[in-house]
Symmetry: C2
Subunit: 333 residues, 2 copies
């Protein structure tokens, strides 16, 4: 077990913005015994919170992790009411800077001065988020990955005015939720993982745009091949092995020149025309067939549970994070 | 089990070029009962063939797949001797077009006229490979993924002069080896998977070049997060779920504008200076710590075996390919 101890979670947290990400944060927090106050202006939020909560309980049950005692859920009618007693405030409103600013200002105004404030943004730099805050020293980006109740990664990023102690606190807070926080030391747009994801997405759009491959074919090129590798080792370690006894240096010498080959010129951004959007949406419909979004969620979670358990059985990567959580959970030995 | 039946493998195959990829082809072929004639000018080839063979047997044993009866291995002293009775010739020499041409010409000259000739190239188009051939109608690209004895994906690509029947034959041949062939319908450099891999690699090089993240941090951003997703669903199906009830069309509307955001400008290629190569090689050394390449291979294979078995247990993706292979293997029920 290579993960540090999981530690004790906060007692109370606020979840501001209850879409798919916020609702999953609420579910993970509650499964770790944290009382959650949630705020979202949409009348649909309560239903989504309940649905994601049920998914999360099902997933943790399948992982044979305890799902009781769970923290409570209180749906609040204002940001102020939600955050007033929170030790952790997790903001997950839509990705518009003006909306993030309004929301974080209100959180900043009403949250206890010693609360940790975290934004789930997948793109904005913490320094840019912090501009309207009176207490920016307690703000971090904590960027999770869907489904938040199963995937361990959370990217923790501080801004220019974030206190160093806040980073330490964020790291231990997300560890206490059974996650694997990765400190992104330099502030850049989209951080690390989404840079890589966006590079793939851009290339995938080109392949569809140019009629080379369909959505389903591109997905198959991922999940029957390198996607299996990446569940357990990243690109560098994989290529180190490919380099053989010569390791990474040999690999770079072999592979490096390929960066100059012609196909690396296709790097501008395809125009997202209505025609391209229609094509992708249609191909995605074909790929899904008669499987609904609910079917896909259940399929995904069942697969991820199986993969996480398999990685736990061989004491690798995300399986080590799961083992650490299991060791810290009540009723497990 | 969504895979078509595995079918009967060829009786005799030739493996031309016995580096990591060629040796793994030989191992997979033998595990499927195919007699293999191998040719490689390097005196080190015999040792590598034996080492990879042992890895492959260990992996299939861990998968509880039968490893007997295995096909024989004959190391030949010329391409002509290796290919003269082959039903399948798999070429895996280094990625230099002149060398590919010389090698494929010789294969073309000595192989039975009804042999299937396949190149493992990860980059060259089959039409470009075929230029010196007298019988180009039987040539395909069949691009596998390391470790070839475990990962099911093989990209099958035909050239302008490839016969349609050759594609069908290649698809059934690779199915008979327990793989998941993906027909890449349009001929482009680097096909599908390596386009995506190269996009990630380019972005990863930038992140290291700019001092944003180390090799180990980038790998963690992959294997604790989206890498887990991609072992079972690709980028499109994952995003379809993220779109919620609105599916892919909603996701595109949300995510589309991000393609125009500033970070998408970092798309040219970083200069592979000695300094950058040193930095990456050093970071890769740090990441590996005291684990040798052999340790890493064993770790990778143990993890992949566990993941494949977990996917078999939930009847998903690469696990379905494994189930189909198991159903077709002697001694299994």
């Amino acid at each position: 077990m290579a993960e540090p101890p999981v530690g004790v979670p906060p007692r109370r947290a606020a979840v501001i913005g209850c879409g798919v990400i916020g609702a999953a944060w609420a579910a993970r927090l509650r499964l770790r015994g944290v009382d959650v106050c949630a705020y979202d202006p949409s009348p649909a939020a309560a239903d989504l919170l309940a649905a994601v909560d049920a998914d999360a309980i099902a997933a943790w049950t399948a992982l044979e992790l305890p799902t009781e005692p769970r923290g409570s859920l209180t749906i609040c009618s204002s940001i102020g009411a939600a955050v007033e007693a929170a030790e952790l405030v997790q903001e997950s409103v839509p990705e518009r800077l003006d909306l993030k600013h309004t929301t974080l200002s209100e959180i900043d105004r009403f949250a206890p001065v010693d609360a940790l404030i975290a934004s789930s943004t997948s793109g904005f730099k913490p320094s840019d988020l912090a501009t309207p805050l009176d207490h920016p020293e307690r703000l971090v980006v904590a960027h999770p990955f869907n489904p938040v109740y199963l995937l361990p990664l959370v990217e923790v990023v501080g801004g220019e005015r974030t206190a160093l102690g806040t980073i330490d606190r964020a790291m231990s807070t997300y560890r206490s939720l059974g996650m694997h926080p990765l400190h992104v030391r330099v502030e850049i747009d989209a951080f690390i993982a989404d840079r890589l994801l966006e590079a793939v997405w851009r290339e995938a759009l080109w392949l569809v745009n140019d009629g080379i491959a369909t959505a389903a074919e591109i997905d198959d090129a991922i999940r029957y091949g390198f996607g299996l590798r990446w569940a357990q080792m990243g690109t560098f370690e994989t290529y180190r092995i490919a380099g053989g006894a010569g390791g990474m240096r040999h690999f770079m010498a072999q592979f490096g020149p390929a960066l100059k080959w012609p196909w690396t010129k296709l790097m501008d951004t395809p125009e997202l025309t209505d025609e391209l959007i229609d094509r992708i949406a249609g191909q995605s419909d074909d790929q899904a067939g008669d499987r609904t979004i609910r079917d896909l969620i259940e399929e995904r979670d069942r697969n991820l549970v199986a993969i996480l358990r398999s990685l736990e059985s061989v004491d690798a990567g995300a399986g080590q994070t799961l083992a650490a959580l299991r060791a810290a959970s009540p009723g497990t030995t």
